[in-house]
């Protein structure tokens, strides 16, 4: 994307207000729909793709049969890795701060020669309420 279009600007403004939260393309679409200034679904998919490529937005695979989940981080994404945990009981998505995960990443990188991308990874399991 080389041009600064109204749609892109509006999208970025909205994402800014939801920094750190989890939203889907459908959420974004609904927001602008409600505002009376809808943005085409196609455009939203293309813009979110681009923002992911630019590193301003993160994309998570949270559930095979639901929409992709995005998190806006902005220009300076926190270095700190928030591990994503998806509860298979209630569907809740949790963020946890976990040094042990970092340690495991280093180990897998060093000993198994695989570079885990914590920003794309989701741990599945059961939350405290559901276990």
């Amino acid at each position: 994307m080389k041009y600064k279009t109204k749609q892109r600007a509006a999208l970025l403004d909205y994402l800014e207000t939801r920094r750190g939260e989890h939203i889907t393309v459908a959420d974004i679409r609904a927001h602008f729909e409600a505002l009376g200034r809808p943005i085409g679904t196609t455009t939203l998919y293309r813009q979110t793709d681009e923002l992911v490529r630019e590193g301003l937005l993160r994309k998570y695979i949270v559930d095979e049969n639901s929409a992709a989940c995005f998190e806006f981080t902005g220009e300076q994404p926190t270095k700190e890795t928030l591990v994503h945990c998806k509860c298979e009981g209630c569907g809740k998505l949790l963020h946890i701060r976990c040094g042990q995960f970092e340690e495991m990443r280093r180990h897998i990188s060093a000993d198994h020669d695989f570079a885990v991308d914590a920003r794309r990874t989701v741990l599945y399991g059961l939350c405290s309420d559901c276990r």
Copy 2:
């Protein structure tokens, strides 16, 4: 499923020959198609669902826009957890044996109150060839 149908028997026979491998419903469908004894897609989805519930089959969410991935383990699934790593570069899916992952699971369970299900979880990143 309470009945032992021909389809279920054929499916189990086939899965046995591919124990420990990763296959999709489309793969299974193609196999029986090629044999000239096709099994309906609907049936395959229902039987795989059932087998997952019975614990003979594991299901992984490997990529948001591709088919679900199954692994047949049979009656006695190994206690040992094989961690799944999906390479975002070449698409390869690796199994690794990793005690550190187990340790992290215990830690997250104890300190973050979340029970990670290693059999459903996939770590995303880059393999040795792609990093």
